[in-house]
Amino acid sequence: MIVSEPWFLEAEVNPSRQKRVVALIGPGAHQPELPDAVEGVCCTSGYEAAAELLVAPASALLVDLGRITRSHVRLLDIAGRVGVPVVAFGAISATLNGATLATVRLVSAENVSAALAEVLSAAGVYEPSERDLADRPTPAGPQPPAERLTRAELDALIEENQ
């Protein structure tokens, strides 16, 4: 039973400082590599992922967009409201639109670990060492844009994927 105020109602908590990543990925899917100091919580349903975001602070939500069916679009909304950045990969379904994905960082599956490291690093949770940087493989193929996509670019990407 909850014995105190939920974490997201406490003014002093900064969710980005928590070393915890909630991941909504399909069963059997490849789990992204996380830095040793970061705890990964894997969920296969949006409900479970929402519960994890609500029960304790997290520094990021990683989402396979294939799991975001019509019933689960609200998960992204909850992540936004509790201030947890969202990194997403996978196919964009017709359920999702530009407004839904406006605050989501879209990456390709190969770039998930790198994107997570960037998010964690930006939040001050994790400082990549020089060795980490040297070991990081250079992904093959086209790279995702470094900056956030504009709304028009995002809508074009969604249209392309549908």
């Binding site: 296969t44 349903s45 929402a50 609500l54 909850i78």
Partner: protein
């Protein structure tokens, strides 16, 4: 104990919430219809119990999420009588128990306030408001179409209540009447009685049970209707398809023989259709077929049958829904007039894909055959109508010929 710890969170639709609130008016229920709203609420404060209706999508995961947020709250599922087997199959250890909807007050009391004085012991007779098995069978059998189902529900509720009940649009003003049931659809309808406040509490609970059953049964009825429509219509034009045309015509002729009524078959195709396909593209040709079908539907009566039986070949059945054939009756003038109206409508129509300058260019040739004079079966009528159509083609096209009587305009003079 924290603020909210005396409350019970109810995740269900509004009908179930209203039912439980009326069963236990002193209970502090907090209602949420959306699963994510419920999860957010559970994260905000402590709850003594959570009741959620089955099925919600990904029910097992939802129960686990609720447990994660409220590990100490008693968690109950509530399902329809028909959903019990599926719920048990899930084998959810996270659930404390489940209720069959509608639960009795005693069941709820026992679950939410175990040990409270005055709560009836387990095993007391349940206060169910279940439908009789035969009534459930009747509902399932009526699920061939939404109209059949609605009729069966109206009959059943009329029998239970002894009241006159009728279906009305969901947005219609009930005008002082009482809404008893909602049938989801496009548009949705409500079953209303003009005498509100006449139902005993037990009967209301029975109606709420019926409301829960109605959701999946109406869904099945809609799926069956869709499949039936796909099986009997032509995908391109929406007209009936060849298979349906043959089956319907034979049935219709059997009826016409016993009732001595008249049936007239028009067989027609679009003159030089291939030329339009070649000159304007197949997409333009398809559009011509769709518009020609729509025109034919506009000029025919509701009960007449328009079917596409080949590429650009259509058959239209004109038949008398009501009056019997008199011994001295002539060829059905009305059917001939309708065929003539179609030719006129075609000449005046501006086909989108051909442009305004092509108005009046597109023509048809057709043959008309009538039961009983020109044949007694679908094949005989088709053969004779086809012969008349060929005569029309040979005479220069753009004409409808009656079997053995030449062009329709001459025959009618």
């Amino acid at each position: 104990m924290n603020q909210g710890d005396e409350k019970t969170l109810l995740l269900s639709d509004k009908h179930v919430a209203a039912e439980l609130a009326s069963l236990m008016p002193s209970e502090d229920f907090v209602h949420r219809a959306d699963a994510y709203d419920a999860l957010e609420e559970l994260a905000r404060r402590g709850y003594r119990a959570v009741i959620l209706t089955h099925p919600y999508p990904e029910f097992a995961a939802l129960v686990q999420a609720i447990r994660r947020l409220q590990p100490a709250a008693a968690t109950f599922a509530m399902c329809s009588p028909g959903g019990e087997a599926n719920l048990r199959l899930l084998g959810l250890k996270e659930l404390d128990d489940y209720f069959i909807y509608p639960p009795s007050r005693a069941e709820l009391e026992r679950a939410l306030h175990p040990g409270r004085p005055g709560v009836p012991p387990a095993g007391a007779a349940p206060e169910r408001a279940d439908l009789a098995p035969q009534e459930i069978v009747q509902l399932v059998e009526a699920a061939n179409s939404v109209a059949d189902l609605a009729e069966q529900v109206q009959r059943l509720v009329g029998k239970w209540t002894g009241l006159n009940v009728r279906w009305a649009g969901a947005n219609e003003d009930p005008g002082g009447g009482e809404e008893l049931l909602l049938l989801d659809g496009d548009p949705p309808s409500v079953l209303v009685t003009d005498k509100p406040g006449q139902l005993a509490p037990g009967l209301r609970r029975k109606l709420q049970t019926l409301q829960i059953l109605l959701g999946p049964v109406a869904g099945q009825a809609r799926r069956t209707e869709t499949l039936h429509r796909l099986a009997i219509t032509d995908y391109l034009t929406g007209a009936y398809n060849r298979r349906y045309f043959y089956r319907f015509t034979d049935q219709l002729l059997g009826r016409a023989q016993s009732q001595r009524s008249r049936v007239t078959l028009l067989l027609f195709d679009i003159d030089d259709f291939k030329r339009y396909n070649d000159a304007y593209s197949h997409a333009a040709g398809d559009q011509i077929l769709r518009e020609a079908t729509a025109l034919m539907r506009q000029v025919t009566r509701e009960h007449d049958i328009v079917a596409r039986i080949g590429g650009d070949e259509f058959a239209v059945l004109f038949w008398d829904a009501e009056p019997p054939r008199r011994p001295d009756s002539q060829h059905p003038q009305e059917a001939f007039a309708l065929a003539g109206r179609f030719v006129d409508a075609l000449a005046k129509h501006e086909f989108d894909s051909l442009g305004p300058e092509a108005k009046g260019v597109l023509t048809i040739s057709g043959g008309l055959a009538t039961f009983p004079w020109d044949g007694n079966t679908c094949r005989e009528l088709l053969r004779h109508a086809d012969g008349a159509l060929h005569q029309a083609k040979e005479s220069g096209k753009n004409a409808i010929y009656l079997v053995g009587r030449g062009p329709i305009n001459q025959a009618l003079q």
